[in-house]
Symmetry: C2
Subunit: 354 residues, 2 copies
């Protein structure tokens, strides 16, 4: 979806890396995160300051091979090394479908997946993943476990103006972001964490050392260039016009897509979508509508038990609710596909009658 925009930006985001550059493992030996490219760190801070979606002061930036690696690094850093049993990891359903498998794939003795945060009632310490806006359903979220003693990890991959109103700068202990959802560059595999406690950050850095001995410097340099252009077009600086603003253009694209989708869903009457409340976006300086990167579609037809296989019959590929810890009446559909695919999906959906 974002490809067109970056094509229009032309050479401004082209990265050129000569063969003899960035050869060493080390990006910045003076930084606790020795594999963090200073230019990438600088552009992360600039972008958050311009968008106003996260406090960066007094935070250690930890770069990761996507936010997946940072999620695992956070579990490693937060779970006690000598606990009598693995620490519980929870998130309110519907939750990001990869959390359980990522948490449990190595049968770690440090942490284990403990399911839906809403029903978690064990009297033990726990890590709660707060994804806001939430993947898959797009709602703004806060901690859901009804007691103290938990450690929160905020996954704010979608807390950008094109998806949700920016109400205030996030100011949490440990926050994850990723280039893939902000700019569309998923193949670059770059994410970052903002970490308040330096000791926690150091443990995350240790994990990334043990896991991949740092993070691709080439990708960080590329990501830095892309974030720089995003920030410049948002500040309306230099040679950029306001109609080149990445977030404004993306916001309107998402708005268009959501409108098309809602028309199709209303026409078909076999489905429903979440209803969102608009909020004031301090970045766009206007009321703005939540318009998530995923549509969380519910099948309203009583005769349909399994919405995923029902839609597959209409050549619409989705991910069923069971993966997200809820029932099969729900499916998740990407709203970020290429124009052609999105148009085809909406067309097919609108023909289905209950």
């Amino acid at each position: 979806m974002y490809e067109n925009y970056w094509q229009q930006m032309g050479e401004r985001t082209t990265v050129v890396i000569p063969g003899w550059q960035s050869m060493s493992y080390f990006s910045d030996v003076k930084n606790p995160c020795w594999f963090l490219e200073p230019e990438f760190a600088k552009q992360v801070v600039r972008l958050h300051n311009v968008v106003g979606n996260a406090v960066t002061d007094g935070r250690q930036i930890v770069v990761g091979t996507g936010s997946s690696q940072l999620f695992l690094a956070a579990l490693y850093a937060l779970a006690p090394k000598d606990g009598s049993e693995p620490m519980s990891v929870v998130s309110a359903a519907p939750y990001y479908s990869s959390y359980p498998s990522m948490t449990d794939c190595l049968k770690s003795g440090l942490y284990k997946w403990a399911g839906d945060a809403r029903s978690f009632n064990k009297e033990v310490p726990y890590i709660e993943l707060v994804t806001s806006p939430n993947n898959p359903d797009g709602f703004v979220r806060h901690s859901m476990v009804n007691r103290t003693g938990g450690i929160l990890v905020h996954d704010l991959a979608y807390y950008w103006p094109q998806y949700t109103p920016i109400s205030s700068p996030a100011d949490h202990d440990l926050t994850l972001f990723t280039v893939s959802k902000a700019t569309g560059h998923a193949g670059t595999r770059i994410g970052w964490a903002l970490v308040k406690d330096l000791e926690v950050a150091k443990k995350m850095i240790k994990f990334i050392e043990l896991n991949t001995i740092g993070v691709s410097r080439d990708s960080q340099l590329r990501a830095a260039k892309i974030l720089e252009v995003m920030t410049n077009t948002s500040e309306n600086l230099g040679s950029f016009d306001s109609h080149e603003s990445f977030f404004k253009i993306s916001y309107h694209l998402m708005a268009e897509r959501w409108q098309l989708l809602r028309v199709a869903v209303n026409r078909s009457r076999a489905f429903s979508l979440p209803d969102f409340t608009p909020g004031f976006c301090h970045f766009l300086n206007q009321d703005s509508q939540p318009q998530p990167a995923f549509a969380w579609l519910k099948c309203e037809d009583d005769h349909v038990e399994d919405c995923e296989s029902f839609l597959r019959g209409y050549k619409i590929l989705t991910r069923g609710g069971r993966h997200f810890g809820v029932g099969p009446k729900y499916v998740r559909i990407s709203m970020l596909d290429r124009d052609n695919n999105f148009d085809l999906f909406v067309k097919r959906l609108s023909t289905i009658q209950s």
Copy 2:
């Protein structure tokens, strides 16, 4: 050490990536390893064919964020998911110092570090890591566990003509390579595995999905370019002269350094180095001398217990033998540092008298 060479190659290894390229997660949807860049895979095969250090026919190539990630992926793929206890992972001492911490850092229920392969005698299945030439001591290695039932993982990071004679193409079940040791581009974080059994490869791919959702496409494109130039200069094709051959130049650089080091060690008489037997290198088409990427130095002075702290007193930074599963009389020193640092190290070493 390799920086000069790549500078001389000029723009031939410069990579240019426009902002709209390689945005998707997917590199090649038809490949089981869907995050493998076809151009990178092609250059890996070409390079192995020209160097003659590994059979690629009938192998699945799996790309990783360095060979560290591939090592972890191999453990995940080879350990049974439902074993009554974690599978033992062994390697003959002295072994690569990161193996134990990488294996045990998450207290996995799938596998655990079980120490020196030579003393391993439990009647259970095991994974043996065979590093050849070995890090830290540079010797060519084969399996050391004296019984059957083991699964071998061959770490051939240093099986390149500048370090060791290429005696024949490696033809193992699961072999790891990494760009960092072949070309010097450590910051690019790209490694690859050659895997005979497709089911094992698929599990490794699954691990990398869960760990980092693929591997930086930018880095793969850069690595492809670098490997391409290495192969071209080795084939003596097109616009390259034979004096531009990466491996010939690197071989002579390493030979020079080892000669300087041996002179210094002989002069000081406080230390000894391993003695290697030359062998015929089918790539260089001549007898060639093993000249490892690390010097495995033994302190011969009876009054010195801890060689690492002894050398620190002379401002020589090393890694002590205990990290590698042996005694503190040994230290490992990099032979790949920049010219200035290497010269300083040799100078300082030669002044030490027993």
